[in-house]
């Protein structure tokens, strides 16, 4: 009986795996050159919050990175990210799309 349950659970998890991956939101990691104090970070955060499709923003001031989580179906271009960072007075040093973990919860 236990074996049947385990097998069924395994089979179900295999079936659900693509769905989980599909549901994972898109994330972008922006390298922001010039960012070096907490007060300065707010300008970027505020501008990103005004951008359509942005669901969550996480800034790591030590690494100089801003991780942007998009709502389902939302996308961001490098040109968009560059404009946002420039408007805050800084320079976009890198732009990378990363695949978020499905279990990640917005902060």
């Amino acid at each position: 009986m236990n074996r049947i349950v385990r097998t069924t659970a395994f089979a179900l998890s295999l079936l659900l795996l693509p769905l989980v991956a599909f549901a994972a939101p898109t994330q972008y990691q922006l390298q922001v050159d010039g960012l070096a104090c907490p007060f300065c970070a707010y300008g970027i955060e505020k501008e990103l919050n005004r951008t359509d499709g942005v669901e969550n923003i996480r800034i790591d001031i030590n690494a100089g990175t801003v991780t942007v989580t998009m709502a389902e179906g939302g996308t961001m271009t490098e040109a968009q990210a560059s404009r946002i960072v420039e408007d805050a007075g800084f320079t976009l040093g890198g732009f990378e799309e990363v695949r978020a973990q499905a279990s990640n919860k917005p902060e």
Binding site: F39, G43, K46
Partner: protein
């Protein structure tokens, strides 16, 4: 003593008055993290507002003139900054001032003073050079503006019209400008500024022009090690202000008991978060080379906060 009903012709307090006016108005101490006694070149993001409130106590009481003068100037200086884009920021400065002057005249102690809205200053700052690199930046930003005669300059008391040094406003249109440099890293920040203010005449009186050199060093005391996220930073600050003030003029004649050079050393603390800053500092006059019997400065204490929205 000042140009008053019983002491015409002597105006040594005018120098202190100009100093207080300048300090209280905070025309260069705009709205950003970093220096407490002057501006920074750090940007105001496009469409972002920065509000700063600074409370200033300006105390002068070491009187070489023998009248035992004691001058106290309180000010609440409100600054609103707006980012037009990542390079251009506009600022408005609105001071509320309360100034008093005590002195001994003919063996009797006399107190004079006034309070009210001071002179509003408007200025713009544009970043002409910036080098953004990972974990830091370097910027050069000239600025220019004008102080408007919005404060009352005709206050009087039982002794007559108050001297210019205790009037809430100057009555004059005073242009100013300069350049500020900022080098910022995650661990420390250095700011430097050179500025000039051309005071103009009003009511037959003219404060002396002011030239300043300012420097500020801020060092992150806490947290010592940076983790993730955006933690609050506690900075220890040391600043220096070298202030040269020309002699005041009354009726077209220079006042030999006004103007001179003062060097302030300024220890301070500042706590910086993503949304707000709290700060305090005291300007200590370590060198005062003043003309004639110009009243010497004791200290200028500053405390305040900034928020962005």
């Amino acid at each position: 003593m000042h140009a008053g009903p019983q002491n015409p012709g002597r105006r040594p307090l005018c120098r202190a008055g100009a100093a207080a006016l300048l300090a209280a108005a905070g025309w260069t101490g705009a709205a950003w993290s970093a220096p407490i006694t002057f501006n920074t070149a750090l940007p105001v993001a496009k469409g972002e507002f920065v509000f700063r409130e600074q409370f200033v106590l300006d105390q002068s009481g070491d009187d070489p003139g023998g009248a035992d003068r004691d001058r106290t100037a309180w000010a609440a200086v409100s600054v609103l900054g707006y980012g037009v884009n990542g390079d251009l920021a506009l600022f408005g400065v609105v001071p509320y001032v309360d100034r008093s002057l005590d002195m001994t005249v003919g063996g009797a102690r006399r107190s004079r003073g006034a309070a009210g809205l001071g002179d509003v200053a408007l200025f713009g700052r544009y970043t002409v050079f910036k080098d953004n690199f990972r974990g830091g930046n370097f910027r050069v930003a000239p600025f220019a503006g004008l102080e408007l005669p919005t404060g009352d300059d005709d206050e009087s008391d039982a002794f007559g019209r108050l001297p210019a040094s205790v009037q809430p406003g100057s009555g004059s249109w005073d242009p100013f400008g300069g350049v500020v440099l900022t080098y910022q890293t995650l661990d420390f920040q250095i700011d430097a500024q050179a500025s000039y203010r051309a005071n103009t005449e009003a009511n037959g009186f003219e404060f002396g022009d002011v030239a300043r050199l300012d420097a500020s060093f801020q060092y992150r005391l806490w947290p010592r090690d940076l983790g993730g996220g955006v933690p609050g930073f506690l900075y220890g600050i040391v600043e220096a202000n070298l202030v040269y003030r020309d002699e005041n003029r009354t009726g077209g004649r220079d006042d030999p008991d006004s103007g001179g050079t003062t060097l302030f050393l300024v220890p301070g603390l500042q706590y910086v978060t993503k949304r707000w800053i709290a700060e305090a500092a005291v300007q200590l006059p370590t060198v005062q080379d003043l003309n004639g019997t110009a009243l010497e400065k004791d200290y200028v204490a500053r405390a305040g906060f900034r928020v962005n929205f």
